[in-house]
């Protein structure tokens, strides 16, 4: 029985961020998107959905929206490839979910004396895994677009695939700098390496060591999520989007994928550049202040509190990055397809190569 509880707690703690991301952050994101844009644009925003007279600033809209999508007709257009048409959104959401497997959301938690890494799967090739997942995400979009038998969807799909694979190159090369600095492709190791302080006051975060890579990664990351200003594949006022033929939850899954990818990119930005779960300055203080006495039977008090703080720090940083992405989304107009490709191949790619060279030289001489 005790073993079972320990096991359950262990897995729960490993999955806690994923559960929160899927069940809390992504539904709330739909609300945040509406409400934040409303605040930016001097409007009221969503506030009508109510349960028993309770409106909660329109928070229930996320619920109402998903209920609506579930009860919409899911129809397949004439001439579509039925199997692939049904499969494509599932592929999309599957790989968006899989991306969360390697995100570390806290340091090790000690459960009945055993250290447990706060990461669903502790892959030592986490970074490569992330690229594999990212690469696969293109399939959901392209297949869905192709299977729809629709010219607009096809245009959107082609744009999406061209855009996503182009920016994957930039993302990949920009992260080489991070690997050079932290000497690992394991996301947990990379995060741990960001725990020290530079010059005694500056956290040794990626954003301070690799500022150029941060901007490249952010830009390319937003491009991967296909959000404004990189939403040429959707471009609702231009080509309506690669999911033009999808109704009901078919569309819903693409929609959810978008939000999950936004969270995923935010998580990765935090992990690589904003110190991941590191809570600088207070982690040492917590360890000293609280004793390492047993807590709730299976935890160590100071380790437990530290883990909670780290987890909160991680969630906070992720929300901050998402907030930034939303602000960008509601400020800028949309790129045109050729502008996107130019930015990717002629700006970001050379810059990220330049970043590697400079980083390598500095690392070599300074160590």
């Amino acid at each position: 029985m005790a073993d079972f509880i320990v096991g359950a707690v262990e897995y729960l703690s490993k999955f806690i961020f994923f559960i929160i991301a899927v069940l809390v952050i992504s539904p709330v994101l739909t609300w945040v998107e509406r409400k934040q844009s409303a605040v930016m644009q001097d409007r009221i925003g969503a506030n009508r959905a109510e349960i028993l007279g309770l409106r909660m600033l329109g928070l229930f809209h996320a619920l109402a929206d998903s209920l609506k999508l579930f009860t919409k007709e899911y129809f397949v257009p004439k001439g579509a490839d039925r199997l692939i048409f049904h499969l494509a959104p599932c592929i999309s959401i599957f790989f968006a979910v899989m991306g969360f497997a390697v995100i570390p959301h806290a340091d090790t938690l000690i459960i009945s004396g055993q250290p447990v890494e706060m990461q669903i799967v502790n892959l030592n090739i986490g970074l490569l895994y992330f690229f594999a997942v990212l690469g696969m995400a293109v399939y959901g979009v392209v297949l869905g677009a192709w299977a729809s038998n629709n010219n607009y969807a096809l245009l959107g799909g082609l744009r999406a695939s061209a855009q996503m694979i182009s920016y994957e190159v930039s993302i990949g090369i920009s992260l080489v700098g991070i690997i050079l600095v932290y000497q690992s492709v394991d996301l947990m190791e990379i995060t741990r390496a960001q725990g020290d302080l530079l010059f005694g006051f500056l956290p040794k975060w990626g954003i301070f060591l690799q500022p150029l890579a941060f901007f490249i990664f952010m830009a390319a990351g937003i491009a991967e999520t296909k959000r404004i200003p990189f939403d040429a594949p959707e471009g609702e006022s231009e080509i309506v989007g690669y999911f033009i033929e999808y109704s009901g939850m078919g569309f819903g899954m693409y929609f959810l994928t978008d939000f999950l990818e936004t969270i995923l990119i935010a998580c990765l930005t935090v992990t690589f550049f904003l110190g991941g779960w590191q809570a600088p300055f207070i982690d040492g203080w917590i360890l000293q202040t609280f004793s390492d006495s047993t807590f709730l039977g299976i935890f160590q008090l100071n380790n437990f509190i530290l883990t909670i703080v780290q987890f909160l720090a991680f969630v906070f940083k992720v929300c901050l990055v998402i907030f930034m992405m939303m602000t960008i989304r509601w400020t800028l107009p949309r790129f045109r397809y050729d502008q996107i490709m130019n930015l990717g191949w002629k700006m970001l790619l050379p810059l990220s190569l330049f970043n590697i060279v400079v980083t390598a030289i500095i690392v070599y001489f300074i160590g």
Partner: protein
Amino acid sequence: MEKLIGLLIMIAVGVGLALVFWGLNRLLGPKSPNVVKDVPFETGRAPISASGRRMAVKFYMIAILFVLFDIEMIFLYPWAVVFRDIGAVALVSMMIFIAVLVLGLAYIWKRGALEWQ
């Protein structure tokens, strides 16, 4: 092996989520197909050209470029991990590698492969 249990759970969750979304919608949603609804939506008129045709070569070019640069990127990763252990040799050899890469980029740029016009 134990490590991969988490991964298996994630796969199950991913597949399950997709199945639930898809299945519930099929279950709860109405089904009332009709001729007009079934025609692919080309903003109000029946499509003239059926899609599913071959696409312009340009997109093929992008795919090729992607494969090239992605593979080279993968070469950079192990190098970056062990860079400090190897030292000068790594620096010089990878500088040459990147120089070749940049040359390649400059070449395709010059040849107009990066012109989207």
